[in-house]
Amino acid sequence: MAAETCIMGLFKDDGTAARAILDLEGSGFAFRRAHSPVPSHKILDALKLKKGRVGWFTLAGGILGFFSGFALAIFTSTRWDLIVSGKPIISLIPFFIVGFEFTILFSVLGNVIGLLTCCRLPDYKGLEVYDPRCSGEHFGVLAACESSRRGELMNFFEKKGGEVRIFE
């Protein structure tokens, strides 16, 4: 298999980066990643991506939390079933508060797990093929090609108005 080279085109705005991504299709070069300092709808639209899956983790956490909160409150009440102030041992209205707080807590924990999973974090290896300018004011498009076509890919990015960085 021929050796592969990764080249990043660095653009001043997301519109140009998005056009470069669109033109990469059918050019024979393999798109790898896009990096940007802010979330860019233009780039995401160019990539035609579906919505992230974080929401499913959040939902699962929420459902788990709702039932855990109620279960905890009911379980602890039944451990000492003494009627206080005429309230039933299992009082759903006050227990709703515990259920609600647990719903939010577990949803957020699910959300964080979802974020880490879907964003694939922590990922310190990703920093090896990354240009620090992408957190500042540049929009990076990373593409790969066979080493023999390296010049072509560089020309491609330069024609689109980008600066070029090569990752060996």
Partner: protein, 434 residues
Amino acid sequence: MTDLTYAQIDQTVLNTLERPRPRYWVFVALLLCGVLIGAGCWSYQIFTGIGVGGQNIPVAWGTYLINFVFWVGIAHSGTLISAILHLFRAGWRNPIARAAETMTVFAVCCAGLFPFIHLGRVWQVYYMLPIPNQRLLWPNFLSPLMFDVVAISTYLTVSSLFWYTGLLPDIAIVRDRSTGLRHKIFRVLSLGWTGSHRQWLNYSRGYLFFAALATPLVISVHSVVSWDFALAIVPGWHTTIFAPYFVAGAIHSGLAMVLTLMIPLRRIFHYENIITMKVFDNVAKTIVLTGLIVGLAYGTELFIAWYSHNPVEIESFRWRLFGDYAYGFVFMAVCNTTIPMLFLFKRFRGSIAWLFGISLVVNFGMWWERFVIIIGGVAHDYPPHSWGLYAPTVIEYGVMLGSFSLFFFFFLLFCKHMPSVSMTEMKETVNHGG
């Protein structure tokens, strides 16, 4: 705001992380002294007993509970600004969102200390956790105090995670522009964030869910705090208005604290191009709104006491207006509802001195509101033979000084070591022409 480039935003914020001057460390040291005084007073109380505080029958809840409610309230506007205004796409909140979120986290930390301090026998704190004690008894979730434990711990966890998630792209910016030890620390903290399309796609969704979950949480937490009082059959406490009244008051005090913190921050860090007067103008307008809601709540309480024809309720509110702590009622009414109305006039909203001065007045008034509610209720309840007065002791003043010092100590450390303005959100504002 739209005049700034991405590079200028980065540079302005990163300049604040340069090596601090000796004056900064003097302030930090002074605040640390305040923290140590507070810690010393608390330690003295632990070794001597809760009796060194001024709480006694009938006023068993003193400044410890006042400060607890005060700090929880301060925390609330941070979430309002970062979550609720985010959902409403209010771009003006972007320059102050980070500082407000930070304020939330540190204020909840300060608030969370007070139940521990108030416990007296702090080593028995595990009674509040959902674990059985030595007699195999579990906490009772019918008690509003247990609602509070669940709500406050949830709020601390959620606000801390929300804050850190928001910081992640900015930590990566600092990582990419630093060297040496700072680079190593920020590299670890950034979790390897690179701003890739996959990360942004999921991050935007996740952040939106965070905001959507934090919004009902913030309303529920202060409602739960209000039920610590409202579920007790004490005149002045036992009312259904307490939940919205407390939530509005919390946001009112928190917005004032945002101004108190952001005005010096803007000047010291030269944030004039980022935190524009328009931002303060909008905060001041929101303070007018919350001030009116709080004023309506004060009026409604008095009206309902009169309209109820309940002699105990009428006496409780008569005493609130004309009794031993009438000065407290005057402070809260004037400072929280009358003086903030000056913000109706552009002249006051456009003056840094007035903005800062009125924010301090509202903070003062909101502390007194909690004094009036908490002390006033139990000091003058049903039978006259159980009436009594309360005054804080030196130990309580020491603990209070400690809590305020701790809050500003944390905030000062944060401002000089982490980005105090969200560079990413500012860039988004520029990107959207906000």
